[in-house]
Amino acid sequence: MAAGDPDCDDARQALTYLCETYWYPLYAYVRRRGHSAEDSADLTQAFFARLLEKPFLQSADRERGRFRSFLLTIFKRYLSNENDRRQAQKRGGGLKHFSIDVEAGEKRYRFEPTDDWTPEKLYERRWALTLLDHVMARLEQEYADKNKGPLFEQCKLYLTGSDDAAAYSEIAGRLEMSESALRVAVHRIRGRYRELLNQEVSQTLGQQETVDDELEYLRSAIRGQNMRNVVTDPKKIGSKG
């Protein structure tokens, strides 16, 4: 996992990539904790700036943990520190690697299930969905680059494993392909999706976790159950990733 190696330049890039992708779950978390939209945006932004500045990743057991829970843990620690000195001005001194789109975040936040989910649960769920969103976006981008946008649009229904034979012929007609060619295309898109999904997930894992375990956990996270692996006490970082 490239981001775990603190001396590598790739590490910063990888980390930047991760942060850019997964800022929204953290935003949702801090928002659910009770802060206002602006405060949340500020906090999240400042947190990331800090993260990218200082070598947080050198924390001892980074290798062992899941990035997802690690991120939440240090975010919590950061928040509890910040609570002691509430300052509204932006930090980072100009080293703004990326910025958070507050409006977009707020709009998405309004769609969150608003019943009694704890901030942690919300964060986990958001993480899983963000990951999936990201994979789908990458897949779509790939196909668009190859000028196969419409094909992707029609075939993505089959990514969930459904196999509607009647729809096959209909879609083949729409795309002006033969049914057998369509089946092959669907097979390929599924394969590529699985590769991308595997890639994305393994990026957030250390060496001891398996992709399957993480997928299983993400499935339960979407439903809001089963919080097995979250470290709730910020002081216990690294003990059980």
Partner: protein, 752 residues
């Protein structure tokens, strides 16, 4: 891209933030590695393998096959499975349609497979029978699967067989309502084929509905003879006409086959045939402790014996030859015309042969009794009051009109009233007038209160009271007449007596209607569905979990909130309760051992037939289709109700009281007579009056007790295909049923 609200694979609700509009759960599931994918939890049969896996058979495209079969024109693929595929083709030279079935062995370098295949193919080719699918050719080809991304060349074994343009029995069972005649037309043909094969020492070993084909002319053909021996035991199988993968169906295998014993002979086919027969007749598989078919559907009882004997666990107890089955079936068939239940609404006059299977394949036969208009009228709320009014007016009319006729005008009556004539005439007028006035007042009152849907609570009491009063006066008159020795019976008074009695009965009936309506309105008051259930229903919870829960109230989005209420909450009136029993519970006799009437522990059961015909306003059923069909049916279900010793004769007692209670009129009348005689020693009116009053009291008591018993009787509020709802059961019973763990229904093979 279609906008979905529910995931088509797992059925959960899709929220607006779902990635790319797809179900996140299913998307994640796709990411599992192969090994864990097979064991992914919570999938059930919805997670059908559709992605070709490495190592699985990927059927070649027709174009690729054509190169290997020069004498065939390959048209299209009509089925595929884990081990092979079937294509429709045409023999070019002979210009006839054929089916090409190809198979790939589990391990590609199995030397014995070729040997086995050859042997089987030769055996099959030897079988030449109109009811067995013929084999035209067989062999093997070597094919390289470039398109399927497999890359390795492999050997495919193929059969060229007769092409059947029709459907298999599985499809018929699922889509067409197979009637008894049609089943009895199919079975003998299957028996013929099997007998022929057995005579040639060939055992099919895999008789199941997918392997029995019926063509458009109604001819039955059996396919896949002996192939069960060829295929290694793999979980997938494939059919000629089906495209989805079907799990191997051990439910059709004979017990000796399942246990893997070597003593499997032709009688295993008989067992499988019995299973197929049962499924054709009832639509279900015979599992565990199952009911004879005639208990489940309306068919000839003699078929029970045939089916059950075929399904005997020990081969020795079954039929020893298939031909015995077909001869028995033909016996039943020959007499079938006379044993048709009259209520079947058959489409055509003559009984349909197998060719009409296809005509009926789309239509469903609706069974049931036409609605009785009389019953619908009788159930209407306003009918009793209308009847009461009519009767009262008739009574009034007979009294006064006959007076007018007899005595020539109103003036004469007036004169008579103010004259002191003999005692009898005074009584005559007083009684008659009193009775007439009472009846008239009753009629006016009923008219005035109108014919509302919800009858006023006091109406039945008023009817009964008025009738009793009028009857008392009339009876007094009659008593007087008899006491004087005069036997002239004034017809009008007699008619009025009849009217009065009729009114009593109408009042009782009205009372009953009122009571039943009270219960229904009490149910409708409680509409509150707790929020947690709404959320649970609307959430991402698994579908099958909800429907297995006891209590239809909790079914996700199926329940119209208006009629359901909290199960087990006591009614406002009387502390009785209602309970819904599922078909499972009734048929498996799995009701708790608590008296259904009083709630005490019970060890005995009383069989009670509940019948139900819906009235205007309250039709059972959750959807409009259900309600519509239930409106036209009258249903009866026999339930073995647990009762304690005291209530064992509960219902018979009810009937006894109802039918003979009226006899008490005589003794009570006598008592009244004697009482009056003692009180007033001189002969005359008072004794008779006493007798009359005694009789009235008896009558009232009788009617009152009928009403009481009727109102406390357990009755079926609604009967649908899946459940029966009983009202006025004891709350303990209802609670026990509710808390009983439910029996999960057997899963259907192709998944919901």
């Amino acid at each position: 891209m279609i906008d979905l609200t529910d995931c088509p694979v797992c059925g959960c609700e899709l929220l607006p933030d779902s990635p790319a509009g797809l179900c996140p759960d299913c998307l994640l599931k796709q990411g599992f590695s192969d090994r864990s994918r097979a064991a992914a939890p919570g999938d059930g049969s919805a997670f059908a393998q559709t992605t070709p896996q490495p190592g699985r058979f990927i059927p070649p495209e027709p174009e690729h096959l054509a190169a290997h079969f020069s004498n065939l024109e390959i048209l299209e693929r009509i089925g595929h499975g884990g081990m092979g595929a079937v294509y429709k083709a045409r023999q070019i030279k002979l210009d006839r349609p054929v089916a090409l079935k190809i198979m790939r062995p589990e391990s590609s370098d199995d030397p014995t497979f070729a040997e086995r295949f050859n042997r089987e193919a030769r055996t099959l080719a030897r079988l030449n029978h109109p009811n067995i699918v013929a084999v035209h050719d067989f062999g093997d080809v070597t094919i390289s699967q470039t398109e399927a991304e497999d890359g390795k060349p492999c050997i495919l074994y193929y059969f060229v067989m007769e092409y059947i343009d029709g459907a298999n029995l599985r499809q018929l069972i699922q889509t067409a309502d197979i009637q008894q005649e049609q089943a009895l037309a199919i079975i003998p043909q299957v028996c013929d084929a099997l007998q022929y094969a057995h005579d040639e020492n060939v055992v099919h070993r895999d008789i199941k509905p997918e392997n029995i084909l019926v063509d458009k002319l109604g001819r039955v053909k059996i396919a896949d003879f002996g192939l069960a021996k060829l295929a290694a035991p793999s979980p997938e199988d494939f059919t000629l006409t089906g495209t989805h993968q079907v799990m191997g169906t051990p439910s059709y295998m004979a017990p000796e086959q399942m246990s893997g014993s070597r003593l499997v002979d032709h009688r295993a086919d008989i067992y499988s045939l019995g299973v197929v027969f049962y499924e054709m007749l009832t639509g279900e598989l015979p599992m565990g402790h199952f009911e004879p078919p005639s208990k489940k559907v309306a068919i000839d009882g003699r078929l029970d014996e045939i089916v059950l004997r075929s399904l005997a666990s020990e081969p020795e107890r079954r039929y020893q030859q298939v031909s015995e089955i077909s001869s028995q079936v033909n016996v039943v068939r020959g007499n079938a015309a006379y044993s048709q239940p009259a209520s079947f609404d058959s489409v055509s006059e003559h009984w349909p042969g197998p060719s009409t299977i296809f005509e009926n394949a789309v239509d469903r036969v609706v069974d049931g009794v036409r609605p009785s208009r009389l019953r619908r009228v009788l159930g209407h709320a306003a009918t009793p009051s209308v009847l009461a009014i009519l009767l009262s007016l008739c009574g009034v009319a007979t009294l006064f009109i006959s007076w007018g006729v007899n005595y020539g005008g109103a003036q004469y009556i007036e004169r008579r009233l103010f004259q002191q004539h003999s005692h009898i005439h005074a009584i005559d007028h007083v009684c008659g007038s009193a009775a007439g006035v009472i009846l008239f007042a009753l009629a006016l009152l009923l008219i005035a209160t109108g014919q509302s849907r919800r009858p006023p609570k006091w109406r039945p009491w008023v009817i009964i009271g008025g009738a009793t009063a009028a009857l008392a006066f009339l009876a007094t008159y009659y008593a007087e007449v008899f006491a004087r020795g005069g036997w002239q019976i004034d017809g009008s008074f007699f008619a009025a007596l009849a009217m009065g009695t009729g009114l009593m009965l109408v009042g009782a009936w009205d009372m009953r209607l009122l009571l039943s309506m009270n219960e229904k309105s009490a149910q409708q008051i409680k509409r509150h569905v707790p929020l947690s259930d709404l959320v649970a229903g609307a959430g991402i919870a698994h579908r099958d979990g909800d429907s297995a829960l006891y209590g239809a109230d909790f079914r996700r989005s199926d329940t119209p909130i208006s009629h359901e209420r909290q199960q087990g909450t006591p009614l406002t009136a009387g502390g009785r309760d209602w309970v819904t029993l599922t078909k499972d519970q009734v048929e498996n006799d799995s009701l708790p051992a608590i008296c259904i009437v009083c709630g005490k522990p019970a060890s005995q059961c009383a069989n009670k037939t509940f019948s139900f015909s819906p009235d205007w306003f309250h039709l059972p059923g959750k959807t409009w289709a259900d309600k519509f069909s239930s409106a036209f049916s009258e249903r009866e279900i026999r339930v073995a109700c647990p009762v304690c010793a005291r209530h064992r004769s509960y219902w018979s007692r009810l009937v006894w009281v109802a039918s003979t209670g009226w006899l008490s009129i005589v003794p009570l009348g006598l008592v009244g007579y004697i009482v009056a005689w003692e009180a007033y020693p001189r002969h005359g009116g008072p004794q008779a009056a006493g007798a009359a009053i005694g009789a009235s009291v008896a009558l009232t008591l009788w009617i009152g007790s009928i009403i009481y018993l009727a109102s406390n009787r357990i009755r079926a509020e609604s009967i649908t295909n899946d459940e029966i709802r009983l009202t006025r059961v004891s709350p303990q019973f209802a609670r026990a049923v509710r808390e009983q763990p439910t029996v999960k229904e057997a899963a259907t093979p192709d998944g919901a």
